[in-house]
């Protein structure tokens, strides 16, 4: 027993743990985040499509009321598309993927101070 090499394991174990831990945490986070990511993807697409639909619908209504040919619908289509992209940008920014945001927690803190 005593002839066996003294426990080399602690350092070795530490090293292996350090190597293994991020992988496992990463994998766990990925599996846990998948439904949320899917929900987010769905949210973003709904945001885009509904803004477009509202724009076109409003344009049609304007045309219907004023008889301005297709122009109300054409113009409002582009406004709707722009609004949809703005909405998507806001959703994504709120998640911390925005260009100027520092992650969800940081933005929230900042907002509170600004608004409060």
């Amino acid at each position: 027993m005593a002839t066996e090499p003294p426990p080399p394991s602690l350092d070795e174990l530490e090293r292996r743990l350090k190597q293994a831990r991020p992988e496992q945490v990463g994998a766990g986070a990925d599996a846990a985040d998948r439904p949320r990511a899917m929900g987010m993807a769905f949210r973003v697409s709904v945001e885009l499509v509904s803004a477009l639909a509202v724009g076109v619908g409003l344009g049609w209504l304007i045309d219907y009321g004023l008889g301005t040919g297709p122009w109300g619908m054409v113009v409002m289509f582009f406004f709707g598309a722009a609004a949809g992209m703005l909405n998507v940008y806001r959703v994504v920014e709120g998640l911390g993927f925005g260009r100027w945001s520092k992650g969800p927690a940081a933005t929230k803190e900042e907002d509170r101070g600004e608004r409060g």
Binding site: P35, G39, F42, R43, V46, E47, V49, S50, A51, A53, V54, G55, L58, M76, F79, G80, A82, A83, G84, L86, N87, R112, R115, G116
Partner: protein, 244 residues
């Protein structure tokens, strides 16, 4: 029989249980109304029954009721701040109603009223109108500055203000479509795979396995969509209370 089994949209059919009419308005008591009444009754029983004991150390039922209270109270605190406290009854009611509607839709042979866009749109529209009124009451005409982004050159405002207004008008639509589409797509998918199971005979084991997984996923979606609807209501409320 086989043709009937393959109709996955049959489950969304509205049936008049007690036909009624006021003038030209159809006010029949339908299966959707029935399940809404059941949802409200279930929420009421759940909360009142849970809090009947008022024990200092809550039992299982009471702690579930307290948990749902704290969940929504925390959500409002996080998203709106303490000035959102007075909207707690509304948001809590909204959450419990949608959650129970979604969850009871998972019971076989039940009816999912949240899978009808008119139901979700009505709720989203109430939220939209309510939030707008809150904004005008708290800030008066100053609320209109919500549509004017900061730090934008004057000439660009001609373009930006309509976009902002349109983006605001989108809210009830996206809010309602999200809930309705999730519930309807999920339930349709369950039905389609169930039909495959019947049609494939012995090989139906494969779609059956998928259906088991999908059922679990549907429970997640049922909760998640109730949560998303309420959390977005909180965010909209926050926008109206604290103008940017």
């Amino acid at each position: 029989m086989a043709e009937k089994a393959i109709d996955p949209l049959h489950q969304f059919e509205i049936v008049r249980l007690i036909p009624a009419k006021i003038g030209n308005l159809d006010v029949s008591f339908t299966n959707a109304s029935l399940w809404m009444v059941i949802a409200i009754a279930a929420v009421t029983v759940f909360l009142i029954g849970g809090m009947r004991q008022r024990a200092l150390v809550p039992g299982r039922w009471q702690s579930m009721a307290e948990l749902s209270y704290e969940f929504i109270a925390g959500m409002i605190q996080d998203n709106v701040g303490s000035s959102g406290k007075k909207f707690f009854p509304f948001i809590f009611t909204l959450f419990m109603f949608i959650l129970f509607g979604n969850m009871m839709g998972m019971v076989p042979y039940s009816f999912t009223f949240t899978s009808h866009i008119i139901v979700t749109f009505a709720m989203a529209f109430v939220v939209f109108i309510g939030v707008t009124i809150v904004g005008f009451v708290m800030h008066g005409a100053h609320f209109l500055s919500f549509f004017v982004p900061k730090g934008v050159p004057k000439i660009m405002l001609l373009l930006m203000v309509p976009i902002e207004v349109l983006s605001y008008l989108t809210r009830p639509v996206s809010l309602s479509i999200r809930l309705f589409a999730n519930m309807m797509a999920g339930h349709t998918m369950l039905k389609v795979f169930a039909a495959f199971t019947v049609m494939l005979g012995i090989f139906g084991v494969a779609p059956l396995a998928i259906n088991v997984a999908l059922t679990g996923f549907e429970f997640l979606v049922a909760f998640l969509q109730a949560y998303v609807f309420t959390v977005l209501t909180c965010i909209y409320l926050n926008d109206a209370i604290h103008l940017h």
